[in-house]
Symmetry: C2
Subunit: 453 residues, 2 copies
């Protein structure tokens, strides 16, 4: 079946009502918005950015179709001239962004949009949704990969992600973050994520006995068989795997791995390793799955589990301990005439934002470790610092050479390598302070003063 | 833009490798699978079922296209005869299901599939993903609605749901569960969910001052203005709302509501109510938003907050305190010839399942409250009990008259009304024991014995 929906309508209703008011009162007003994290989630000291590719596709192709316009007309609060405007709408703004695979911190713009107020506002819901999902899962997956200490991690989350889109994007985000592959065929097809898979308990149960099921699978896939050994009794299961491995050897084939999916994975892995080694099957790998995440994997590795790779599903694919980012999209300047932008900031309790058109300046030490991030104004010159935001769109056209998924994964690996160890701790959030530049601080205080008058 | 993807490929890779082994060894084997919750999530004593509509669409239209077949060919482990089989594949099974809006408990089949092993297996990933997301959000939203004690709840989650699909399905699931509407335009268009919205802080900030922004909005939407009063200072904001309400009165119009989005919502609501009442604006409603869920709303209501409706976003739309269901899909019988089905069960530690083709029998008391659920075998006759699973597909054709979203919402309301109060507690999970029938128990013990031999 073909699911065919025009994503342009993924917009909060109030964006459109506000747009109608802007259409009347602020048709020529330009504005800049920052999309950023107000705060990092529990136990996270950084955010691994993902989602830009989908944002660019959305911005480039945004167009309301006649069915959508008709639907809005039926609500009876939109004027005909505004509906006509919407029907002809396409996004014409300038966009700066952190490339996918960047590491960032709270208060740093991930995407910065300068456009007509209406344009900048209408795209809010989609940008937030997209960056939220993909950066959150990428961040989570990078933690799982770090916990696995070099052992391969596979994404098995399709069955329990929050919907279809989440499943595909989770597979992509996990791969960007360092996973070795995914079970999700759609992600393989769309993005080139390497596919991985084993067998289900139901497969074993569909045969008269476990050994028969193992033999059948190995016969069909002599080069890529991973046997699930815990359907009935894992000791017998490991024994049956040994039998099948020996049968494969007679055909000059090697059993790839066995999979453990229940019980005390550490204890079972040690037993399995012993049995396999005793039978001269040192080459047979052990894959573990079942309720895993960075916390469980850290414990397994501390206990010296003899596991060679991890299949991680639900908890990674939903970022279960923190299923959303505190990501917001805030107006930071506004101009009624093109040459005179006025910085703005929100002052409500505990939600103060930084005004003005900003850039992130990153300073690394000689070893390439991130030492300091300075949040400054655009075009500041800060010594030894690298500006991180890149121009990706100009007048609604993409001006960014999009890297492929493997390039993004490699960029991500380099970025993660730039994090000091204390920022990679899994059980504790360490504060990496992003400092405002002197110019930004000055601007902020000026605005607070103005408001008090 | 049109997002056009063939959802058929939303399948875990191992479903296809297993299918190839079945294709060789078990081409005529029939099987029955149950999709059910192994356990209920934290603090939940029931599950509100949703997702059937998408499952039926998927099953009815499942077809692998040539691009997908070509992709699989490129992996070089699939045989040509199997790829030919896949290219011609369409789902031909029988499906029984709980209607959307049903209330169910752990171990009760939500969907039961009887089909050729290959057919039943290939659909696993999609069914799990869909029921997982939609039932989880529906359950969460029903808790939020209950906590609100009759005050309207609106879904504002689009910007932070886990992706595009989740945002649309969350809006639908929330409406089924009793929400009054959503901010998600796509859900309005696709499902007829009533739209709701207010204004953003950026709207207020885009004007020279708050009063000007309020006046402009009210001018454009004189019948549906909700003013956000906390951008700079909520006391001044409420004062400005009063001014605009009075100006609207001169045009025989009424300000609909004000919205509070930060600070101590309870205290601010009391102050706002006082100011509004003192100005003879008793009709102006107070809507509150900002980090709300069933726990926060319960506290606000206990403290007698003067809030008339709630805008609930992230935590409802992601079911943040429990972002997934422990939903599984398990083989429960298998037959190598059509007339001789053999029940199956999994025996690995802590993961035992019930064998056989099952039905749920529900017994209510005279007041309509659910007293007992009996998990029995198909076609048992249990006194005074209503069988809950309905046949929805026969040989791959839908044989179910699909209710519209408003009918589902009404069915859901009736189902929730059948829950005893102790099952609706928000802070505590109470066990409602689903008892196996005598026949089911007997079957289970027989299989355990057989396996020990």
């Amino acid at each position: 079946m073909n699911s065919k929906i025009n994503l342009s309508f993924l917009v909060d209703f109030y964006e459109l009502t506000m747009a109608q008011a802007y259409f009347k009162y602020k048709p020529n007003t330009q504005a800049t918005f920052d999309l950023f994290l107000r705060d990092l989630p529990v136990n996270r000291s950084y955010c691994l950015v993902a989602g830009l590719e989908d944002c660019l596709d959305f911005l480039q192709n945004l167009k309301f179709d006649s069915r959508q316009i008709e639907y809005l007309r039926g609500i009876k609060i939109f004027s005909e001239d505004f509906l006509k405007y919407l029907a002809e709408f396409s996004f014409k703004g300038e966009v700066w962004a952190l490339p996918e695979g960047s590491v960032c911190f709270a208060n740093e713009p991930i995407i910065r949009v300068t456009a007509s107020l209406i344009h900048a506002q209408i795209i809010e819901s989609f940008l937030l949704n997209t960056v939220n999902l993909q950066s959150n899962i990428a961040t989570k997956a990078s933690r799982v990969v770090q916990a696995a200490k070099g052992k391969a991690v596979y994404d098995f989350s399709l069955r329990r992600t929050q919907g279809i889109d989440a499943s595909i994007k989770a597979a992509r985000s996990c791969y960007i973050a360092g996973c070795a592959g995914s079970s999700n065929c759609m992600a393989g097809l769309l993005y080139g994520v390497p596919l991985a898979g084993t067998m289900a308990h139901s497969f074993v149960m569909a045969f008269n006995n476990e050994l028969e099921s193992f033999r059948s699978y190995a016969e069909v896939f002599p080069d890529s068989t991973i046997l699930l050994v815990d359907t009935y009794d894992y000791k017998k299961g490991i024994g049956n795997a040994v039998i099948v491995a020996k049968e494969l050897e007679k055909k000059n084939k090697r059993l790839k791995a066995i999979r453990l999916d229940s019980g005390d994975l550490c204890a079972v892995s040690k037993l399995a390793r012993k049995v396999l080694d005793k039978n001269n099957l040192k080459y047979v790998r052990i894959l573990a799955s079942g309720n895993l995440d960075e916390y469980a994997i850290t414990k397994l590795i501390k206990r010296k589990a003899l596991i060679d790779s991890f299949g991680v599903g639900t908890k990674m694919g939903t970022s279960a301990d923190s299923p959303y980012l505190d990501v917001i999209y805030k107006l930071c300047e506004v101009s009624d005439n093109e040459n005179d932008f006025l910085p703005r900031m929100k002052l409500s309790t505990a939600k103060i934002t930084y005004p003005g058109r900003k850039q992130i300046y990153r300073i690394k030490n000689r070893k390439g470790i991130i030492e300091k991030d300075i949040l400054g104004l655009e075009d500041e010159s800060i010594k030894k610092a690298e500006p991180l935001l890149v121009k990706v769109m100009e007048e609604g056209k993409v001006v960014y050479s999009r890297p492929n998924i493997h390039e993004i994964a490699s960029f991500s690996r380099n970025n993660l390598a730039g994090l000091a160890d204390n920022l990679k701790k899994i059980e504790k959030r360490n504060q990496f302070t992003v400092k405002p530049s002197r110019a930004l601080k000055k601007l902020k205080h000026k605005l607070i003063k103005q408001n008090k008058k």
